[in-house]
Amino acid sequence: MAGAALPGRLNWLIARATEIIEETERVRSIVLDCPGWPGHLPGHHIDIRLTAEDGYQAQRSYSIARPADDEQVVITVELVDEGEISPFLIEDLRIGDRIEIRGPVGGYFVWEPSRGGPLQLIGGGSGVVPLMAMLRARVRAGSDVPVRYLSSARSHDDLIYRPELESISSEVEGVEVLHTLTRRKPPDWTGLEGRVDRVMLARQAWPSFTRPLCYVCGPTGFVESVANSLVALGHQPGRVKTERFGPTNGG
């Protein structure tokens, strides 16, 4: 699917959960098989609609975690304690269950290898989900776009996709993976520490003269601060794309 415009109507489709991957204690990925899925770009999201027996409905948006693969749609969901949809998806949904989805939605916060780079991905918490779809697309395509992936999590146990990122980092040329931990770190931690601030970005992100495409996703405060820092470091605002969630995304 090319171009910005999404033609036609986004119909609700029935998707079946075929695989559930526990990513962390509070985060799981759900693989959905969705007959009729029109395809998507890395960074797109979907709307999910759940209907109770009495007809009550609730909807939320979730980023897609993997690049297009036939009729498969994979989402990664973080538990929001006060939420409505995420507790169901994390605690109740089982393989074989069916839910309604529609999409793809979005179209600005997307990247595919043909858009080039260098590519700077910066995610806070579950904000890494659409960035992972971009990174996976880069790896799958065997593209040579240089990528720096920087994720911020509270603790080592909260890092999403860690094993896969470790193998990408050690096996794929041109991809650099960095994590920073903001609350607790293991004694042998060799990664970064503390919040993503201007100093960290000056040291770890692509410098502005390389004119990277920057994608920043996470909670509002995180995105606001990182995007402001990137602009202060000389990055063109038009090359810094953001997606914010919270403070209560209600998930």
């Binding site: 939320r60 948006s61 995007a227 990137l230 209560t248």
Partner: protein, 202 residues
């Protein structure tokens, strides 16, 4: 009835007034921020709002002139396409009726608002006139925070909130309807929350 999800019971907001919450929305006490890029910082001494009519003639206000215009304070419900609604939000700003009062040619029927940072959104002119839209610069009695669109944003509460462009710097009246930023990415051209017009074709 729609497809039922096994085991889903939901968390109904029984205290939310049903006649004020459009379909598919939930009420939040917070004020989430959604923007496609970094927040522009516009110094008040550089701020301008420019109204361009279909023939290309312009009228422009600086911050002092603009905020000296008659203002209105309104309390309205707002509805974001990402599903949250916020009730009873209070804004102060200048009505579009005031900005269009003296002699602007309204023949075109369409208006495209544009913003610092490059954002745009399109509306029928009749949806921003007749007491339906404001250029707001105070929220809850305080100057509007940059994250929420300050120094000034469009406020069109009867449509999904992406139509209420943040950081506005002008409006162009036209006889043709040109899709704005999100409208060209597949979002609905009009965006009525009560008809759940989220995306093209809804």
């Amino acid at each position: 009835m729609s497809f039922i999800t096994r085991g889903f019971r939901g968390r109904r907001q029984l205290d939310a007034p049903a006649d004020r919450v459009p379909p598919g929305q939930y009420v939040t006490p917070d004020f989430p921020v959604l923007s496609a890029g970094p927040t522009p910082r516009v110094p008040l001494e550089e701020w301008r709002f420019t109204m361009t009519d279909p023939l290309g003639s312009e009228r422009s206000w600086n911050w002092g002139d603009f905020t000296a215009l008659p203002t209105e304070t309104v309390t309205v419900d707002i509805h974001c396409v990402t599903k949250w609604s916020k009730l009873d939000t209070t804004w102060e700003g200048v009505s579009l009726d005031t900005l269009l009062a003296d002699g602007t040619d309204r023949a075109g029927g369409h208006v495209l608002f544009h913003s610092y940072g490059g954002y745009t959104t399109n509306l029928p002119l009749e949806d921003v006139t007749g007491g339906k839209a404001w250029i707001a610069f105070n929220y809850d009695g305080q100057p509007l925070d940059p994250e929420h669109g300050g120094p000034a944003r469009l406020l069109v509460p009867h449509l999904y909130f992406w139509k209420s462009a943040k950081w506005v710097d002008g409006a162009t009246l036209s006889d043709s309807d040109r899709p704005g930023f999100w409208e060209s990415y597949g979002y609905h051209n009009y965006g009525d929350p009560w008809r759940e017009q989220r995306y093209q074709g809804d």
